[in-house]
């Protein structure tokens, strides 16, 4: 079976200074699996998710490669068709639930946008479905919440609303852009469990962007590790965690805080490993120019 999302040899540069942002990235996501996209700030994980969703800023130019959703190449599609495809088949769970809801629109209206746009539902039918969706993400008194404005809800509630909205159209592909970073640790866990449950129920493919390896270990089936826009290591979660082959992966794993073993303390990544990664990236760039 061919994967649902295939990114092949995707490269992108900054429009301003032509510096590479993505270096020949390939990754494949099968239906019904969660693919962790891991890296530190500036590794390009957000850029990849934005390219997939067609919301990449004007400062990023895709220079080569393809992003295929089924048989459609998102990089080369006409804007209008791309908008329809993304709107009807994909969804985004954003990073910050506090800014991702329109302060001037009622929860119910924002929740049911996609249903009215892509499921051909009238206002009444969409509203009824919205109630079910809220109920499904364990929001109490959905009737009341539908009529509220975002500022009435807590951050955790808002993230639940956003998750409900993302699953509203039963998307084939879901991009979760660090969906728990802005939440309290206690809420984080609930939201992750919720996400995992809905994903399993709907058989949705998920690209899960994060810098938190602990989160990856909890929910991801496969992992791609990025450094400066280049794939460092890729594989199943099991392989990555049990038998990491790249020095960077091993260093990252070693640097994760050990809640079970406080005596281990915090181990910052060795400068030598970072230097080796930089050298690898430089070598790649050199090969590109030659």
């Amino acid at each position: 079976m061919s994967p649902l999302l295939s990114i092949d040899n995707l490269s992108a540069v900054s429009r301003r200074d032509g510096k590479p942002i993505l270096r020949n990235v390939s990754l494949h996501v099968d239906s019904g699996t969660i693919h962790g996209l891991v890296g530190e700030s500036g590794a390009g994980k957000s850029t990849i998710s934005k390219i997939i969703l067609g919301i990449v800023s004007g400062g990023v130019v895709v220079t080569s490669g393809s992003v295929m959703l089924g048989a459609n190449d998102l990089v080369r599609m006409p804007e209008r068709e791309k908008r329809v495809l993304i709107g009807s088949q994909m969804a985004l769970i954003p990073q910050d639930p506090l800014t991702a809801l329109n302060p001037g629109r009622r929860i119910g209206d924002q929740l049911t946008d996609s249903l009215r746009m892509w499921k051909g539902m009238g206002h009444k039918a969409a509203w009824a479905r919205g109630l079910e969706l809220l109920d499904h993400v364990a929001i109490r008194d959905p009737q009341r919440v539908m009529g509220l404005f975002p500022h009435h809800l807590s951050g955790g509630m808002r993230q639940r609303v956003l998750i409900a909205a993302a699953f509203a159209i039963e998307p084939k592909l879901l991009i979760a852009d660090e969906p728990t970073t802005a939440l309290d640790a206690t809420v984080q866990k609930q939201v992750l469990q919720l996400l995992k449950r809905l994903q399993a129920e709907h058989g949705t493919a998920v690209v899960f962007v994060t810098h938190d390896l602990g989160v990856v270990a909890q929910i991801c089936d496969a992992v791609t590790l990025l450094f400066q826009g280049k794939v460092m290591e890729q594989g199943t979660a099991e392989t990555i965690f049990n038998t990491p082959s790249h020095a960077y992966t091993r260093a990252l794993l070693a640097a994760s805080p050990r809640y079970d073993d406080p005596a281990a303390g915090l181990n910052p990544i060795d400068d030598a490993v970072i230097a080796a990664c930089r050298a690898e990236v430089a070598q790649f760039d050199g090969a590109q120019h030659a």
Partner: protein, 334 residues
């Protein structure tokens, strides 16, 4: 709520009292004597004294003010010196004409400014936005009286398509029951009258509306541009909304609030602009009468007009304050 209204009413009363004192004192300190404007060439010194006494202008400044204020609180604005008619009656006659003019100008400014802002936001990453910037800049740079003169030259003289002056063709029947001619003509389905009224209003309305449209366009575009960068717009874009829909249904409702507050302030400037524009187009409103009143040193009429403008300004500010709250759900329940 009642407390708020009472507070605003109290503030309004204090403001108006201040306006009354300032205009009263300024008029009497400024050079120019209404009696000198009235007397004929053959008047004797006794005639002048008698005339002065009959208008109470021989009394002390404080007494004059006290008499005027006393009648004012009873609803008596005094009698116009130059027109020999009650000031209250004159104001009521002219007020509807100016309100119609100002409201029409405001509506045109909102529609035009809104349109420019939306186009500018839609094209914000395209080179053609330069054309929008140019138009917007022109609107901002040119004051209403220059627009008035330019419109007279182009649409009144070079291509005489619009009437140059007045409010309605004098040959048409003007048996209106209220002063709101345009509104009344529309409500009574007299579209022939409405069309003539609209043709007469077109140039003064445009002259007043264009600068305000420029300001609305500038502020709204700024606010829309800001809103379009918010996360909720990005999320709505992922939902598959078109760019125009993003602007209209996502960004607009959050951009209207800040624009509204400024539009209110600028609308009071537009009311100020009616003075000169009504004069240019001989439009029978308050502003036109204000210029005549000043020329004739018609103290009671000037005082009444200034107070009337004061009331209008206070009301506009009040309406804007409530409108801003109505457009922001976060303030609504606060």
């Amino acid at each position: 709520m009642i407390e708020l209204v009472a507070k605003r009413a109290g503030m309004a009363a204090i403001t108006l009292f201040g306006v009354a004192v300032v205009v009263f004192v300024l008029l009497r300190v400024a050079p120019g004597d209404p009696i000198a404007m009235m007397i004929g060439p053959g008047a004797t010194a006794e005639d002048i004294v008698r005339l002065r006494a009959s208008y109470g202008l021989d009394q002390s400044l404080f007494n004059q003010f006290w008499i005027w204020l006393g009648s004012l609180v009873q609803g008596d604005f005094g009698t116009s010196i130059s027109r020999r008619v009650g000031v209250g009656q004159l104001l009521l006659e002219r007020l509807p004409a100016t309100i119609e003019l100002a409201i029409m100008a405001l509506l045109v400014a909102i529609v035009l400014g809104g349109f420019i802002a939306i186009i500018g936001t839609l094209w914000r990453r395209h080179w053609s936005v330069g054309a929008v910037d140019g138009v917007n800049g022109l609107l901002l740079a040119i004051p209403e009286f220059v627009w008035a003169l330019a419109l007279v030259l182009v649409l009144g003289v070079a291509l005489p398509v619009l009437p140059l002056s007045g409010r309605i063709n004098p040959s048409l029947p003007t048996d209106f029951k209220t002063g709101f001619y345009l509104l009344e003509a529309l409500l009574t389905l007299r579209f022939d009258l409405a069309l003539d009224l609209a043709r007469h209003m077109a140039m003064p309305v445009l002259a007043l509306a264009l600068p305000l449209a420029g300001i609305i366009a500038r502020v709204l575009r700024e606010a829309l541009g800001e809103a379009m960068m918010q996360d909720y717009v990005t999320l709505a874009r992922v939902k598959g909304m078109s760019e125009l829909r993003l602007i209209l249904s996502e960004a607009m409702r959050n951009a209207v609030g800040p624009t509204l507050a400024l539009t209110g302030v600028q609308f009071t400037f537009l009311i100020g602009g009616t003075v000169i524009v009504e004069k240019i187009f001989s439009y029978p409103g308050l502003g036109n009468m204000a210029i005549d009143a000043v020329i004739n040193r018609d103290f009671p009429l000037i005082q009444g007009l200034v107070l009337m403008f004061g009331v209008i300004f206070i009301l506009i500010n009040l309406i804007v304050d409530f409108a801003v709250v109505a457009f922001n759900p976060r303030l609504r329940h606060g």
